[in-house]
């Protein structure tokens, strides 16, 4: 079914839509929480639900690519690949750029997202490393 048609059916209301900051005096920002959205933006271009070809990257560096041929087979429609932040931002960007081969309009957003996700993952894992060193020291002292 046409991507544009699906988008027009879900653009007003869908379960992934997230609105924040609404008050009686002003509007709100609209985000979209589905996995295949590189900007988490509520718009057709980045939508992971409406588009048959979509790319997504989560904060834990899980890269999701969609298979446009398997649109009516949800279990096969998306492939998720877990990326390793230790490989480095440059190599990760290359992987993500390769995944965006069918969606060149998403390249810019993909690169930004890889950089941010990688930085976040490095930061998250740093604290983990610090803890384990402490544990090592503690165990040495107890000996």
């Amino acid at each position: 079914m046409s991507d544009a048609l699906v988008w027009h059916l879900i653009r007003d209301n869908n379960s992934f839509m997230v609105k924040r900051g609404r008050t009686s005096r002003c509007g709100n920002v609209q985000f979209s929480s589905e996995a295949g959205n590189l900007l988490n933006a509520h718009c057709f271009k980045y939508s992971g639900v409406a588009n048959s070809k979509s790319v997504g990257l989560s904060s834990t560096l899980a890269l999701t690519t969609s298979n446009p041929k398997a649109q009516n087979k949800p279990s096969k429609a998306t492939t998720t690949a877990q990326l390793n932040h230790r490989v480095g931002v440059k190599k990760l960007t290359a992987t993500v750029v390769a995944a965006c081969a069918s969606r060149p309009d998403l390249l810019a957003a993909a690169k930004v997202r890889v950089a941010k996700a990688c930085a976040g993952a490095i930061r998250a894992n740093l604290t983990h490393v610090k803890k384990s060193k402490k544990a090592v020291r503690a165990s040495r002292r107890s000996k």
């Binding site: 079914m1 379960s15 949800p74 429609a77």
Partner: protein
Amino acid sequence: RAGMQTPAESWGTGRAVARIPRVPGGGTSRSGQAAYGNMCRGGRMFAPTKVWRHWHKKISTNQRRYAVSSALAASALPALVMARGHRVNNVPEFPLVLSDSLNRVSTTKAAKAVLQQMGAFDDVEKARDSRKIRVGAGKARNRRYTQRRGPLVIYDVSEGLDKAFRNLPGVELAMVDNLSLLDLAPGGHLGRFCIWTKGAFEKLDSIFGTYEESAKFKSGFNLPRSFMNNADLTRIINSDEVQSVLKPMVSGPDLVIPKKRNPLRKADVRVGLNPYQAAVKAREVTKQSMDKAARGKAIAAKRKVVKGRSKEFSARRKAFIAAASKEGDVTF
């Protein structure tokens, strides 16, 4: 009649009380209290709701059937079903049509196993985990819990299926002969997750008809036709037929706003603003590159010039004063 069961009458004016009707009589705390008004304690509400309100709205049969057809079509698109909120990421195929042996499933345990095998149990879990006590007065009016809707199992013949599936949280059952919009598009939102049995799915053609023939069981009903045969706007716009008759694209003037460069940091920008800066810079450079002796010489030379000038000026001053004193007083 609630709130109106007193012969209350207003006391009128002149008694230092509001003119609202008051309960007559005496000997009880109720006497003299205000009555009838929606603002009074124990009064009737504003515009008491009547039973003879027009509850049921008519809708033409064709419209109703159009809606059900649309809802069924929407339930076949995983995108719409996911957008509605169903957890269908592990379902192998859409629409999910299971063999007729599903009709003979007779225990809830077996039903659960079937759903788990078909990747449909995620949706049931979602419904189960969403069970909460209702917010609002409804909780005290026999509507205690709310939960999400799970999958809708559509069958044509049940040999135990309905009893097996009915206790699973969120799962609803429907016979294909009387599909309701309330089940297919709950809350008016298209894309309910439907699980079909083979017999039910095959029966759809005779119930709703096809594009080739009218519906057998709905007299005079034909499937709604789509407004656009090809709804893929991107493909239409990019097609040869459309692109070949378009006028060439008019691109506006390429506005290039140059990046601001700070003259305090960039020498070339500073020289552009203040051409004398080049000379200042050159002087500084020579000064830096001079050694101590050369610097001493330069300073001495400068001092000589200044001294010479000061000598000259003092000589001019003295000459002026001498001439002025010789001149004497000036009268106007």
